[in-house]
């Protein structure tokens, strides 16, 4: 009754092609944006439950936003272009370490000539980190021109293991610290310092909203359609004149750029100080889960998947404690493992297309409510 587009006439092509063609969707989106940009900071400021607790902002919302961003990046590659990748952790690591290098000054000794760049501010370092990840993505994307499907997935593991090794062994990247762990520089944007959880949250939010809008518009455009054609059948796409070299490598570059920026944010904003282990293969699998559980080929799905995969273990951790059952920490962590695995299997069985499909079905149902035919 509420969610029905009767009476909304489109009088121009622009209106017909809008991202959200239905007015109720637009209103809901503006309300959501108003809530996350104004509501949450206000609630946090006045210590109103549940946003008063720093824990929620620091340990749930900030990682949720950053991992959603990474999931959007992976979704472009896997969901839209159909190239399965298990190397996203490596691209996050490239983003993080290169941003760190740019933030603390690059010094490359080259045949006696020292190429050096002075320390850059945080924002350009993060973006340059993303750019380096994009270059890495293009290099490791070249095999995708010959290899497909699961073979490609295993081939992308080469990137994961290679960069794990590079950042653990090549001390140049960690500025020769003895422990191998590095500290993020002070976060300063145009004279503003980002320190408290709420400021960190706002910073991540801005990045996520900007990149989500960019990604959404990209996948609706020329390039996005080329990607989808390649995903659906690459030979047929080639026959109708899509250049696989350009389209596939663009997908690798853009996806790795976004993942690299997410990696830099993860290191700078969420972790603060980190070791190569923070970007291990487990991270790659976590991202892939988010994309598949959320829905391949859906920007919204990236958010839903990230929320589910991130929040589920945290909630499961609390359950035995809340019920007052005495179990050891070790048992709880194993239980979380088992339940997560079982839930993933169950979700894949009941809805192989992920939460995004459930959402679409719900919207269809809502349009007919309360008189379904």
């Amino acid at each position: 009754m509420l969610y029905r587009e009767a009476g909304q006439f489109k009088t121009s092509y622009a209106a017909d092609m809008a991202v959200f063609p239905i007015r109720q969707d637009r209103i809901a989106l503006w309300l959501l944006l108003a809530f996350v940009f104004i509501g949450i900071p206000l609630l946090a400021n006045f210590q109103i439950w549940p946003f008063g607790s720093e824990y929620l902002l620091r340990a749930i919302l900030v990682p949720f936003l950053i991992l959603s961003l990474a999931a959007i990046g992976l979704n472009i590659l896997t969901g839209y272009c159909g190239q399965l990748s298990l190397g996203s952790g490596a691209f996050m690591a490239i983003g993080a370490y290169c941003a760190y290098k740019f933030g603390t000054g690059v010094n490359i000794p080259l045949f006696g000539l020292a190429l050096s760049i002075p320390p850059l501010p945080v924002l350009p370092s993060i973006l340059l980190g993303g750019l380096m990840a994009a270059i890495g993505g293009i290099l490791f994307g070249i095999p995708s021109l010959r290899i497909k499907g699961l073979y490609l997935a295993v081939a992308t593991l080469a990137a994961q293991f290679f960069f794990d090794w590079v950042f653990a062994r090549v001390q140049w990247f960690t500025n020769y610290t003895s422990s191998g762990s590095v500290n993020a520089p002070q976060l300063e944007f145009f004279g503003l310092f980002v320190n408290t959880p709420i400021e960190r949250y706002m910073l991540c939010l801005i990045f996520v909203v900007v990149f989500a809008m960019l990604a959404k518009n990209l996948v609706r455009g020329n390039l996005g359609r080329q990607w989808m054609a390649i995903r659906d059948m690459d030979i047929a796409a080639e026959l109708i004149g899509i250049r696989p070299l350009y389209a596939k490598l663009m997908a690798f570059a853009i996806s790795s750029f976004i993942i690299g920026v997410a990696g830099a944010l993860w290191a700078f904003v969420y972790l603060g100080s980190w070791e190569p282990l923070a970007f291990s293969i487990d991270r790659s699998f976590q991202l892939l889960f988010m994309v598949i559980i959320g829905g391949l080929g859906s920007i919204l799905g990236s958010f839903l998947g990230a929320a589910f995969i991130l929040v589920l273990p945290i909630l499961l951790d609390q359950v035995p404690h809340a019920l007052g059952i005495p179990v050891s920490v070790e048992t709880v962590s194993l239980l979380v493992f088992i339940v997560t695995g079982a839930l993933i299997c169950w979700l894949l069985i009941v809805e192989p297309h992920g939460f995004a499909r459930l959402w679409a079905t719900a919207k269809e149902k809502l349009r007919l409510w309360p008189y379904p035919y």
């Binding site: 699961l150 073979y151 493992f337 088992i338 993933i344």
Partner: protein, 309 residues
């Protein structure tokens, strides 16, 4: 002569440790061949089999039974556990997912990996359990030709022998038995096999069972080498480059891929490693596999990929 002896030693130990990777890769190949599922859970199955074996063996031995009885009872118990897990996986995970695409099936096996890892450690314990089924001391060969001889680990030789017997046994099973023929039919075409009356869920159960038993064999060797512990699941990741070099669908490919990766990895580590800061064993296999794939996208022995529009 010393250099030649050294190279030979590295090469032989590399080849033999490659065969040990093949033991894990075989399980992958079996399941992929018969059901098109890329079974990421193979490493977790090795862990489960190893834990079931070592814990029951210790338990029986503690009751005062002789060693041989304990080993036989332990192996029987571990085989029973693998049978049960094969049944459960087929019945509750893969059965309902029939006709989904490869990616979904792959993700579901990662889910299975989590469950198996969690359950195995919860039921059997999460520590390092030493397993002593094979001798682990070393032989020195050809001492008259090379000074110091060539060092050869007995366990690696045992692993090679077992892999050989296993491959021969699997070849006979696939070629000569009725079930094996049905398996090949299912691998060729699911629906055609179903329409001539081959019960597909039974066949898949058999495949997972065989893969589970292969995992048990791998667990006996690897458990003796490293002790049965959680890190054994990472073997799955080590076996992947072996798998793509050999091709997902080829049993001999898994062995040859193992030999190539094992030898390449060890030679690179010993002769290239010092120039690159060491530890290149960690990724060398993957990069080698990547290079092979650039020239043969289906691996060395994989079936030719034919695509039609």
């Amino acid at each position: 002569m010393i250099l030649l002896g050294q190279i030979l030693e590295v090469l032989i130990s590399g080849l033999l440790s490659g065969v040990l990777y093949s033991l894990v890769a075989l399980g992958f190949v079996l399941i992929y061949k018969a059901s098109g599922v890329f079974n990421f859970a193979q490493g977790a199955m090795v862990l489960l089999a190893g834990l079931a074996l070592v814990r029951s063996l210790d338990f029986v031995a503690a009751q005062g039974f002789p060693m041989w009885t304990a080993i036989i009872l332990g192996l029987t118990f571990a085989a029973a556990v693998m049978t049960l897990s094969a049944y459960v996986i087929e019945r509750f995970v893969l059965g309902p997912l029939v006709n989904q695409d490869g990616l979904t099936l792959f993700m579901s096996t990662i889910g299975v990996t989590f469950v198996l890892e969690g359950l195995a450690q919860m039921v059997f314990g999460a520590e390092i359990y030493p397993l002593k089924l094979f001798p682990t001391d070393a032989w020195f060969l050809a001492e008259s030709i090379f000074p110091g001889g060539i060092l050869l680990n007995k366990l690696d030789v045992w692993g090679g022998l077992i892999a050989g017997v296993l491959v021969a046994g699997l070849a006979v099973f696939f070629q000569r038995t009725k079930t094996g023929r049905a398996l090949r039919a299912v691998a060729d075409d699911h629906s055609a096999a179903q329409s001539v009356g081959i019960p597909i869920s039974w066949i898949w159960f058999v495949v997972w069972l065989v893969a589970g038993l292969v995992a048990l064999v791998a667990a006996t060797v690897w458990g003796t080498k490293l002790g049965v512990q959680f890190s054994i699941t990472f073997l799955a990741l080590k076996a992947l480059p072996v798998l793509i070099i050999g091709g997902f669908t080829s049993v001999p490919g898994a062995i040859i891929g193992g030999l190539i990766i094992g030898a390449g990895e060890k030679l690179a580590e010993v002769y290239l490693g010092p120039f690159m800061g060491g530890g290149i064993e960690y990724w060398f296999g993957y990069v080698l596999a990547l290079v092979v794939l650039m020239f043969r996208p289906q691996g060395l022995f994989g079936e030719r990929i034919i695509e039609r529009v």
